[in-house]
Amino acid sequence: VTDTPKKEPIDNVFDAIEASIVSASEADLRADVDEAGQSFSAIAQEVRETFARVQKQQRQIGLATARAGYAQASKRRSPVTLPTAPDARKALLGLALARHPELTAQFRDFGGMSDADIQSALEDLSDLGKLEGLGDE
């Protein structure tokens, strides 16, 4: 048994109103707006701005989604569990720098780095995927 709501007379009235809007000529719409004491251009601009806001919001959402995806990917690229001993962490950083000489410029003061700095550097290198395969050596 179908349960289609019965169409009310008011629906026919609004159908006619909507059809008249869809089929209205530009002159008709301008007359609508003029008779209401409004500006055709101002209304058009307002609607355009409404759409522009949606465009901007959607782009921001897209950007946030991309950023979240990047962060997730970074996490997935961090399989290395850092050594628990400070000496072992320092050795791992040395090994990473030896394997990736392009990074040595950023760690010129390698010898004077605190354990906290070494740990932070290792986390950054892990995010960049530069520690992959080094944990086994």
């Binding site: 019965k6 009310e8 008011i10 609004f14 109103i17 209205a24 719409l29 209304i43 058009a44």
Partner: protein, 203 residues
């Protein structure tokens, strides 16, 4: 094969953005008027949302789940989306009424005149929704009580008569008919939106 066809006709995000940018002033005004008419039509079911929100939600939907088949004019696709979303709002609202939502004690906009609010606020049933529809029709008739031609045109629409049939019965020239339709449209939208904003617009 069906998917190949979809690839050919479904617009990309860039094409949709370009279509939005290409809308003329007339398109934009038409969309605004159409969205306003839909808000007035669904009345209390707009639930505090105005035509700008309807336009925004329609565009969001076109960018998302309601893809644009380029075989259809973009402005027609957007109008169809406006119609679909406002109908969805009305259905959603009906479900809430059926679930016993109280509109009078609720903190949202109630959109319409006190008589309609009372009708909509009572425990909902099909019979009560008919009352709401009749209240809206009464409201429209009251708006044009002093205008005989407007009353005749509205009565013709109620009876599902088209423009030529109404003109023949009423005996008016095309330009007189068109002018009166425009007046009905403008008054119905303006007064309908004013009635809806009495408890405060959301924008």
């Amino acid at each position: 094969m069906a998917s190949e066809k979809a690839v050919v006709t479904t617009a990309t995000r860039e094409e949709i953005d370009a279509a939005i940018a290409a809308l003329t002033e007339t398109d934009l005004v038409r969309l605004q008027r159409f969205a306003m008419a839909r808000i007035v039509r669904i009345g209390v079911a707009a639930d505090g949302r105005d035509y700008r929100e309807l336009l925004s939600e329609s565009y969001r939907r076109v960018l998302g789940s309601r893809s644009w088949n380029k075989a259809i004019a973009f402005v027609d696709h957007l109008s169809g989306t406006i119609r679909s979303i406002s109908s969805h709002w009305a259905e959603e609202f009906k479900r809430e009424l059926d679930a016993g939502r109280n509109l009078v004690s609720g903190d949202r906009d109630t959109r319409t005149d006190p008589a309609t609010v009372r009708s909509a606020a009572s425990p909902a049933a099909d019979a009560e929704r008919v009352v709401v529809a009749r209240d809206l029709l009464d409201y429209v008739k009251r708006l044009f009580a002093e205008d005989r031609l407007a009353r005749d045109i509205i009565a013709g629409w109620e009876a599902e008569l088209d423009g030529p049939a109404i003109r023949e019965i009423v005996g008016v020239e095309q330009h007189v008919f068109d002018s009166k339709v425009r007046a009905i449209r403008r008054r119905l939208i303006d007064e309908g939106l004013k009635a809806g904003s009495k408890k405060g617009s959301t924008s």
